[in-house]
């Protein structure tokens, strides 16, 4: 069994790298969707608030897998139709599984992140914002220099959970053909007929990912709260 694992270790390493890449890309996108959504939920405009709430309800109420399938196959239909308008001889265009997958899981976890960020923004003392305005800071400066740095500390605990969901959701992307560790395990299992060992390896790799994230987030939390610990 260990010989088999050794034989496929290169492929598993490569697959892990793909997962890491998907994770990083979707993490950035998640933060973007989360911040936009949270700002929209706190906006004075009723239509904007409703749109942000609809985003959360829809993406938290439908299965992750279904969103992924919809985005992957849907984008293929849309892109093909658009391409045919420009070049009528086009046969087929699609978003690569990498990008469709990263987009899908970031949208799903981003929907949850909007709630986290919204709560964190509300946790920043209103007086801080007023003080910033009184100092003559522009709205964008108040957002990036006053509200954002202070809200991170409050968002960290939940955000760690979101990061773990993100990593675990990357496994789904193998279904639409991304060549990551699940794909490697499929390949390996079909040739060496040791499916349990192969999928167990995949599980251990994911466990390593989530353990590292949890440990890192714990340290970050401690660091973010280093000046407030005495106050509690």
């Amino acid at each position: 069994m260990f010989e088999e694992l050794w034989r496929w270790s290169g492929a598993f390493m490569q697959g892990s790298l793909v997962i890491l890449l998907v994770f990083i890309v979707s993490l950035v996108l998640t933060v973007v969707w989360g911040l936009i959504g949270a700002s929209a939920k706190l906006s004075g405009n009723r239509a904007v608030r409703a749109a942000a709430n609809a985003y959360t309800v829809i993406f938290r109420g439908t299965p992750e897998f279904l969103v992924l399938l919809l985005l992957y196959f849907g984008s293929a239909v849309t892109l093909t139709a658009l391409a045919k308008l420009v070049w009528p001889q086009t046969r087929f265009v699609d978003l690569s599984p990498f990008w469709a997958g990263s987009l899908a899981i970031s949208l799903i976890v981003g929907a949850a992140a909007t709630e986290t960020f919204r709560g964190a923004f509300l946790g920043v003392d209103q007086g801080q914002i007023e003080a910033g305005r009184a100092l003559g800071l522009r709205r964008s400066h108040v957002f990036f220099l006053v509200r954002l740095p202070q809200m991170w500390r409050l968002a960290l605990p939940s955000f760690g959970n979101h990061m773990n969901s993100l990593v675990k959701d990357t496994a789904l992307i193998s279904v639409i053909g991304l060549q990551e560790i699940m794909f490697t395990a499929d390949m390996a299992a079909s040739t060496n007929s040791m499916p349990f060992a192969m999928y167990f390896t995949v599980a251990l790799i994911y466990l390593a990912f989530t353990t590292i994230i949890t440990a890192t987030m714990r340290r970050l939390e401690r660091r973010a709260n280093r000046f407030t610990a005495a106050a509690r």
């Binding site: 992750e64 196959f73 989530t210």
Partner: protein, 227 residues
């Protein structure tokens, strides 16, 4: 590209055929998952069983459900004793493999919720019930459980929704649940928007039902609470 509304309406009855599989998976996994979670919670408080319980929760919360499912569905038959064992008639069926994966996954998350709820019961309450001379059973029955139930309900409701969404993975092991039927219709018509959005609407309605139910239950448990 156009949006084919008649196709959407036509596909609805077929998608609803998958509803029974989705709901059966949900129901079985809820019951088994809760049983596993309760057993795990009890094991965590014992001396010798606490570390296997911790390991179980750690493993199933730290790995993706899809991997767990594939380990069970494709992986378990690798072992000779599974194929000759008494559980083989069940483990041969994708439905029961999916149920097992969902239950184990759900059990780990719910065990963690129960632990959180247990921590929410104040030490003062335990001391008070001890001082009143309540037996351990009566303390559990009249003090701990009611409080833990109320504390856990919101998180448990979210977990039910997660479980419902997780049933969508059934189609990866050839089951024809709502998502599975949606995938087969898309393979025939190649109209992903119409079909997958119809399926999403079904899940959204189910999610809404679950959430309404939980809200009602919360209000019921709160009926004696002072405002």
């Amino acid at each position: 590209m156009s949006f084919d509304l008649p196709l959407m309406l036509l596909s609805f009855p077929r998608l609803l055929e998958g509803l029974s599989t989705t709901l059966r998976l949900l129901a079985f996994s809820l019951v088994f998952g809760l049983a596993i979670a309760l057993a795990t919670s009890c094991a965590r408080n014992t001396r010798w069983l606490s570390w296997p319980a911790e390991a179980y929760v750690y493993f199933f919360r730290g790995t993706p459900l899809l991997v767990q499912l594939f380990m069970i569905y494709f992986g378990l038959p690798q072992a000779e004793f599974i194929r000759t064992g008494p559980l083989w008639p069940l483990l041969r069926e994708p439905f029961w493999c999916m149920c097992l994966a969902l239950s184990l996954n759900n059990g780990a998350y719910v065990a963690e919720i129960i632990r959180g709820g247990m921590l929410g019961v104040g030490t003062g309450l335990k001391e008070a019930s001890w001082a009143l001379g309540l037996s351990r059973f009566h303390q559990l029955r009249f003090v701990t459980v009611p409080i833990v139930l109320r504390l856990c309900l919101p998180a448990y409701g979210n977990e039910v929704v997660s479980l419902l969404k997780a049933t969508a993975l059934a189609s990866t092991v050839t089951l024809l649940d709502v998502t599975g039927i949606a995938r087969s219709i898309v393979a025939e018509t190649f109209a992903p928007y119409e079909i997958f959005i119809s399926a999403a609407v079904i899940y959204l309605v189910l999610t809404f039902f679950v959430q309404t139910l939980v809200t009602h239950l919360e209000a019921r448990l709160d009926r004696h609470a002072q405002r």
